[in-house]
């Protein structure tokens, strides 16, 4: 059993605020792990700490040496002053053969977009191009940060279907943050509930039965919207000093 990436006792500060604390996390080859949690709970922060974009304030992150990592960010704002074709974007930071480029675009469902300017794409096309770029290196681990933000329902469904096909074909591990719980839960090997720390984790079915999970997401209808009242009654109780009423979290922050 090899961990592709692992974090031990990870804490991350932004400004002077502790956004994440005491996170122990590891992902194995081929595993599909979904991170869920309310807005502002530190989901994106966790991913950024894992790719090295945010320095840990406590604990550490270790990658398997030579790990091939594909990262799909939560959207991308390209300055209008920068001309960038899809093909050139896939060539960053290193040039790749045109064949590999076209194959990756095809795989991600963005075939034929090679020559188009990046700024002229629709939201769905853009996300698929980001996915294509992440696939270029034949990643062992694919990390996606809310990859369907801004897509409509059919667009989201199409993206996840495509993702599943890609992952079945390549066998890479997938770590993703998502709001589309009903979609991603079923395909995950493991679900991690984050709310400043890891609240609970496990196989989706086990997690779905867990008290913490039910408190977070509700027991039946409207689960996805019921995630703001989260009562703590589990192992993190000791030393727990933060407020668990998340009803007033800033909706604009991911």
């Amino acid at each position: 059993m090899t961990n592709l990436i692992e974090a031990r006792g990870l804490g991350v500060e932004q400004g002077s605020r502790l956004v994440l604390r005491d996170v122990d996390f590891a992902i194995r080859a081929g595993e599909i792990v979904t991170v869920v949690g309310p807005n502002g709970s530190g989901k994106s922060t966790l991913l950024k700490a894992l790719i090295g974009a945010l320095p840990p304030s406590a604990g550490r992150v270790r990658r398997k040496p030579g790990l091939r990592l594909g990262y799909v960010p939560q959207g991308l704002r390209l300055d209008a002053s920068m001309p960038m074709s899809v093909g050139r974007f896939l060539d960053l930071p290193r040039r790749v053969p045109g064949e590999a480029r076209r194959a990756a675009l095809e795989e991600a469902g963005a075939g034929g977009l090679d020559d188009r300017p990046l700024t002229g794409l629709s939201g769905g096309q853009f996300q698929r191009v980001l996915l294509a770029r992440a696939l270029l290196d034949r990643p062992e681990l694919l990390i996606l940060d809310e990859p369907t933000t801004g897509l409509d329902q059919p667009g989201q469904a199409a993206f996840y279907q495509r993702l599943e096909e890609v992952r079945n074909a390549m066998g890479c591990a997938v770590l993703m943050v998502s709001h589309e719980l009903h979609v991603v839960m079923s395909a995950s090997d493991r679900v991690i509930c984050v709310n400043g720390h890891i609240c609970c984790e496990g196989h989706p079915e086990v997690v779905a039965q867990a008290e913490e999970y039910r408190a977070l997401f509700g027991t039946g209808t409207g689960g996805a919207l019921a995630l703001y009242r989260h009562e703590h009654s589990h192992r993190h109780d000791a030393g727990c000093d933060h407020d668990h009423d998340h009803a007033h979290h800033d909706e604009g922050q991911a």
Binding site: Y71, P73, D79, S81, M82, P83, M84
Partner: protein, 260 residues
């Protein structure tokens, strides 16, 4: 043949334009226009320092521009409003620089040559500095081109690809300080920013890739240098501003005829 002052002027202007192009595109993409101005204005302070300590002007401007760039970046990174910090830095550097130069040189100083350049007085030594510095800037940026562009597109994508975007930012600052020191004699502290931004901006409407825009910026920069010098010769106008005017005309033409 370098004894002809006009030929030296042409070579100086072309060299400065070529040095400015690879950095200019990043200044535009990263919205560092004001940042470039602040650093360029600090060059005047560098001149004063060099005069006071009898260092070469190039060394003084390079050192002060580098310190300025790092200080401003550090302040902005600590959460001070970037625009505010730059406003204070750009004008502060210019005012203190002018004050310092006048204190060092006395009342008979020739401020204009530092503010707007003095290209017709370029010496062979200046030419060596301009082309040497320019080659350094080009080497610095072109060898790291893929990494710099990636870090500019998205810092997160850079991290994921094993690139430290903070290091790339430092590289750009070093290049900026070099360009400022190189271009001071050609267009002066006030117009270095223009030399960086305008050719790159003029190349934008006709470019489909970052490399295309770089080539366009270099071409249009050289064209501006030659056209501006020619205009200065014919119309008997100051050379630095004439070069910048030529660049603005090219920019206007490009925007009007461009695809976007």
């Amino acid at each position: 043949m370098l004894d002809d002052f006009l030929l030296r002027a042409v070579l100086a202007a072309v060299g400065a334009a070529l040095a400015a192009a690879p950095l200019g595109v990043f200044v535009v993409w990263r919205r560092m226009a004001y940042f470039g101005d602040a650093t360029a204005h600090a060059a005047v302070l560098g001149v004063a320092l060099a005069l006071a300590s009898s260092l070469p002007i190039f060394a003084g401007t390079l050192a002060v521009a580098l310190v300025m760039a790092l200080t401003v970046a550090w302040l902005a990174g600590r959460g001070h409003g970037a625009d505010m910090v730059l406003g204070v830095a750009a004008h502060g550097a210019l005012a203190f620089g002018l004050l310092a130069v006048s204190l060092v040189e006395g009342p008979r100083l020739d401020l204009e040559s530092y503010l707007f350049g003095d290209i017709l007085a370029v010496t062979k030594a200046d030419l060596a500095v301009i082309w040497g510095g320019g080659a350094l800037v080009a080497a610095l940026i072109l060898t790291r081109w893929g990494r710099l562009v990636t870090a500019t597109v998205s810092e997160d994508l850079a991290w994921a690809a094993g690139i430290d975007p903070r290091r790339e930012r430092l590289v750009l600052m070093l290049a900026l300080a070099l360009v400022v020191a190189v271009a001071l004699k050609v267009v002066g502290a006030l117009l270095i920013g223009a030399l960086l931004i305008i050719p790159a901006a003029a190349a934008r409407p006709w470019s489909r890739t970052p490399e295309g825009m770089l080539a366009g910026a270099a071409t249009l920069g050289v064209a501006s240098a030659l056209g501006g010098l020619w205009a200065a010769w014919v119309l008997d106008t100051p050379a630095g501003p004439s070069v910048v005017c030529a660049a603005v005309v090219l920019f206007a033409l490009s925007v009007v005829t461009g695809r976007r």
